[in-house]
């Protein structure tokens, strides 16, 4: 099972000091957080993609390329890549390029984005959100798998004999997950292709996540990619840890109360009951995280959001130290509970090995 972190990349004032980091500080902080993720033994770092303030990560592959150069093992991913407003040709090329630079340590999470005004900035229309996700991904899928592509769709100019360059590393496209909070169409899309499905998980009650994952698993089996239990599932998560749980609550409360997404609404206690947010001791975070598999089944990737709501870099790095400390327990406890035959999330190395073994069989 993979453990990682994902960042939204928001520039938010620290509510305890009123200080807002500069864009440069925030961008450098994201890089430092990614490097620290590798140092504490995490498997994945994912960056969001946004094109409006107060967010900084508009150019994910620039950032991930830089991180790739300063890390060795970390898988670089997205949270999410806007499959609706990005030109699929550019996604195909940017991430293939990143694959080569990062020696295959790349995968992507596709998302639609829910900020209406972003669509027209990139020449699109939010009312076409789902059809754009369907068509653009169908095109991207082809561009990574066929050297010469003829293509005609509704949303962009046709391609005649086009080759996206560079070709994916070793001829293996990056593994793709599809992310959606509540659109069954996207779970259906992930199942159709046999891709992974990642649920954000952190903003809504667990019943929503369980329902979406269950639907994806059923459809994954329906399309013949394996059993429902073999479908590739990822979840988000959110915690704030201190050795003493009361210290965690006290320190995190002002950040929670003023957080951009849920601030000024339910109390920290209510939100912790209603959603997977865990604010407490390392043991509480372990116990809560282990409980996720009880409603989604054995899954492949657990990704945490730890650097939002104006938390200073120093605090985020301390959170990563604490996560590193509980990581061996999380790994062993998940492994002990895992049903035999549960697959791991595909990586470049595993997909390469599979390709080579298939080639051997064919010979």
């Amino acid at each position: 099972m993979q453990f990682g972190i994902f960042s939204v990349g928001d520039v938010t004032p620290d509510p305890t000091t009123g200080r807002t980091p500069t864009e440069r500080e925030r961008i450098k902080a994201m890089v430092r957080i990614a490097q620290k993720a590798e140092e504490v033994g995490l498997d994945v770092f994912a960056t969001g993609e946004h094109h409006n303030p107060p967010f900084v990560p508009s150019s994910p592959t620039t950032m991930l390329g830089y991180i790739a150069a300063t890390t060795e093992k970390l898988i670089l991913s997205t949270s999410t890549t806007l499959i609706t407003t990005n030109d699929p040709v550019k996604i195909a090329e940017d991430y293939a390029m990143l694959q080569h630079l990062a020696d295959g340590r790349v995968d992507l999470v596709m998302g639609r984005g829910n900020t209406g005004p972003v669509y027209p900035w990139f020449g699109q229309d939010i009312r076409q959100g789902i059809p754009l996700a369907v068509e653009n991904y169908a095109m991207l899928h082809k561009l990574w798998r066929e050297d010469v592509v003829d293509w005609e769709g509704k949303f962009r100019t046709p391609l005649q004999g086009f080759t996206a360059t560079p070709r994916p590393l070793d001829g293996i496209p990056p593994f793709v997950w599809h992310g959606s909070i509540r659109s069954p169409e996207i779970a259906e899309q992930a199942a159709f292709y046999g891709d992974g499905f990642l649920h954000n998980h952190i903003f809504w009650p667990k019943e929503h996540t369980a329902r979406m994952v269950q639907f994806y698993r059923q459809r994954f089996a329906h399309y013949g990619h394996g059993t429902a239990e073999q479908a590739i599932v990822g979840l988000g998560g959110q915690f704030f840890m201190r050795k003493n749980s009361q210290d965690a609550v006290k320190e995190f409360r002002p950040y929670f109360d003023n957080a951009p997404v849920y601030g000024h609404g339910p109390s920290l206690e209510e939100f912790s009951t209603q959603t997977p947010l865990t604010v407490g001791s390392p043991q509480q975070v372990i116990d809560r995280t282990l409980s996720f598999r009880e409603y989604v089944g054995d899954y492949q990737r657990q990704s945490f959001l730890i650097d939002h709501a104006g938390l200073p870099l120093k605090t985020v790095l301390e959170q990563l130290d604490l996560l590193g400390e509980i990581l061996p327990t999380l790994r062993s406890e998940f492994a002990a509970r895992r049903a035999p035959g549960t697959p791991d999330a595909p990586t470049h190395a595993s997909l390469l090995a599979k390709q080579q073994s298939l080639a051997t069989v064919t010979e």
Binding site: I130, P184, E185, Y262, E270
Partner: protein, 201 residues
């Protein structure tokens, strides 16, 4: 069993809005062929949860049960105090967090209270369009109770209007043929191959 959900947005306790809601409810029940299951929702008790839902996008446990009871109801009675020439903000916020299909085709009886009879047409100018938008079947008689109406008596007065409105809702329910309301979003997802085909792929 037929289920009737009564929604009161009254704020004071006791509340004349709740009193009107109860009168409309019993007038309806007495004119129904069978005794329904009646659920009363006091929006005051859900006020914080409604605000939280506006901010977080999902209903808490208590609000979730209330929202579900409306979606599953066979008929709804909705009563609000009139504030600043319209329904109260709390009343509107509750309908804002419902699934847009929750009232589709559902018989609804509307009522309102106010300090003066001069605001009675807010029922026709504000509440009725709201429920038309939500595709509810609103009964022709909407009942407004001003302070002075509580002392009235006789057929053309408050109690007469309550009886007439309750009778109209009961008539719709007695003749109703089945459930309406929000659909299961997972029930009819288009198979992906068809989605591709629809886009010419």
């Amino acid at each position: 069993m037929t289920s009737l959900v009564v929604i009161s947005a009254g704020l004071s306790q006791p509340s004349s809005t709740r009193l009107l809601a109860d009168k409309l409810s019993s007038a309806t029940v007495h004119q129904l062929a069978e005794v329904p299951e009646v659920t009363v929702l006091e929006l005051r008790d859900l006020a914080q949860d409604i605000t939280n839902n506006l901010l977080t996008g999902f209903p808490s446990g208590k609000l979730s049960a209330a929202v579900e009871s409306v979606a599953k109801a066979d008929a709804v009675i909705a009563v609000t105090p009139i504030f600043s020439a319209s329904y109260s903000g709390l009343f509107k916020s509750f309908f804002d967090v419902l699934d847009p299909d929750a009232l589709d085709g559902k018989p609804v009886l509307i009522g309102a209270t106010g300090g003066s009879s001069r605001h009675s047409l807010a029922l026709e100018h504000a509440l009725r369009p709201l429920f038309s938008y939500l595709r509810a079947v609103v009964v022709p008689t909407a009942v407004y109770a001003a302070s002075e109406d509580w002392a009235s008596s006789g057929e053309g007065e408050l109690s007469g209007r309550v009886q007439r409105a309750g009778g109209q809702l009961a008539a719709l329910l007695n003749g109703s043929t089945g459930t309406t309301g929000a659909k299961d979003p997972f029930a009819d997802v288009i198979p992906f191959a068809d989605m591709l085909k629809a886009q010419g792929q």
